[in-house]
Amino acid sequence: MLVKNWDKLSELEKKSTRQGFGDAILSLGKNKNVVVVSADLAESLKIDKFAKKYPTRFIECGVAEQNAMGVAAGLALSGKIPFLASFAAFSPGRNWDQLRVSVCYSEANVKIASSHAGLAVGADGATHQALEDIAIVRCLPNITVLAPADYISMQQAVKAAVKIKGPVYLRFARQDGPVIYTANTRFMVGKANVLLKGTDVTIVACGPIIYEALLAAKQLARKKIKAEIIDCHTIKPLDNKTILSSIRKTKHLVTLEDHQVHGGLGSAIVEMLSQRYPVKTKIMGVEDKFGESGKAEELYNKYKLSHSHIVQSVLKLLK
């Protein structure tokens, strides 16, 4: 599952989750029902190859995300499996009402593929750094919410999404990041992956930022603290079983996401645990602020989401 040399960053292949999306959608093109609906971000979403190879199943809507969501719903209600590809800031940011009614309420089989999530978007700044998308999507009925951690799991998530009959939200990112999964990893929707086993604290994360948690685990190990690292790529439905069994063992939880602390992965987990098995928790994310321009690593430092901040959070929690 986790590549053996995961802790040697320089040795790891660097690829983006958006590339994972583009490559997966290209290979899914042989399924004649798969359609890509674009909102003038084909190059950014890495769907330009699909567009060239399957021009009749590539619908370019222009910069009109509300219409694009509705068009995707109409395609889905006619038996197609449309992927609506845009930035998370605009989709679901700008077309949430269309997602709610045209897609989720109608149970339209639309896959919402949204790149450029999180602070790690970098230089484009706050307007383009979607930090609220998990919150506004996971509150909707009938939708599955996925946020894969790397190129490999992203590809598998896209393939899994096609098999789900109903709306799926795929959250992914702009930046290149280390490929942490082995190529033969089995990705199961709703089944979180325990990447590192530990007994002292559970760290649950989603998306590429999970690499910071892995680095933190390495540092914590030097202090004789064994952190269990869980990749919770499926935020809805949440894998209660895996999370609970880890928490029962460690009694301490840190959650980590490149998203607001309100309403995201941490909230989802705490909503569940507060009713099943409350434990001492630190929710790590963006603390009720907008982002800004900067490099991803600079932003993770400034917004206290880097591995050293995770280590500090764990030490404080275990005190």
């Binding site: 009749t56 809507c61 694009a68 969501m69 509705g70 109409g74 038996g79 009402d97 009614v101 149970e107």
Partner: protein, 274 residues
């Protein structure tokens, strides 16, 4: 089901209007003016124009009717019931708990409802998506999208029209209920639309205009629209509240249901007209 007799269609439209009054009165809320105003158009569509079979509501070859301005669903429900999609008795459950006849249409539990709608501007995009799917599948069915003039305030609608033109969706027929009212007043006061004809033409549509209460003209206009090789907009000039004098052209009936006394008066008028 193709009824050619205009007299017979008139009778159906009148029954649909009576259904609308009864449904809304029983529900105690809902949208009277637009529903009554569109009764003739829905009659012509469901009983003459649409290629559909109520016993096979999911037949992939069927024509699609997408109601974008979902709030006038009483006219849709009555037309569907009278066409045979479900028993007339169900109409009484409009807006009641556990009813498939939701206050705004929901596609999951009611046969014949193509999609859910309510927030304005959303149906038109879905109709465009359906038209694109038909092209991909090389199927010949047509998509009729019902919109209201007030709905043209929504930016999403114009986004959808641009796309319909881009992909030359000659299987899309947009019906604009030009009744000049919206919930808070007359369209000219709330948001002037100027010339819808010019707007649609500049968006690449062929525009046909019709008296939305002349059944013969409606049949001819729809048949003409089917043969046009561009997306078509039919601007249907209608009288909101048509058939019930005290409601006609009064915007305050946009989002209101008659009480029992008003319903009695309305039904008498409709019965006398039939």
């Amino acid at each position: 089901m193709k009824i050619k007799s205009v007299q017979k269609l008139k009778e159906i439209a009148n029954l649909i209007r009576q259904d609308i009054i009864q449904m809304l009165t029983k529900a105690g809320s809902g949208h009277s003016a637009g529903s009554l105003g569109m009764a003739d158009i829905f009659t012509v569509l469901y009983f003459n124009i649409l290629n559909h079979a109520p016993e096979q509501p999911n037949n992939p070859a069927r024509d699609r009717l997408v109601l974008s301005n979902g709030h006038i669903c009483p006219v849709l429900y009555s037309a569907l019931a009278r066409a045979g999609y479900f028993p007339l008795v169900k109409l009484k459950s409009l807006r009641k708990l556990n009813s498939p006849l939701q206050g705004h249409p929901h596609n999951i539990e009611l046969a014949g409802v193509e999609t859910s709608s309510g927030p304005l501007g959303q149906g038109i995009s879905q109709a465009v998506g359906m038209a694109l799917a038909a092209k991909m599948d090389k199927r010949n069915y047509q998509i009729f999208c019902i919109t209201s003039d007030g709905e043209h305030n929504e930016g999403q609608l114009w986004e959808a029209l641009m796309l319909a033109n881009k992909y030359k969706l000659n299987n899309l027929i947009v019906v604009v209920d030009r009744n000049n009212i919206q919930i808070d007043g007359y369209t000219k006061d709330i948001m002037p639309l100027k010339s819808l004809r010019n707007k649609y033409q500049s968006f690449g549509f062929t525009v046909l205009e019709v008296n939305g209460h002349n059944l013969r003209s409606l049949i001819n206009t729809f048949n003409k629209a089917k043969g046009i090789n561009t997306p078509v907009a039919i601007i249907a000039n209608t009288v909101p509240g048509k058939g019930v004098k005290f409601m006609e052209n009064d915007f305050t009936w946009h989002g209101k249901a008659p009480d029992k006394k008003q319903a009695k008066q309305a039904l008498e008028e409709l019965k006398n007209a039939s």
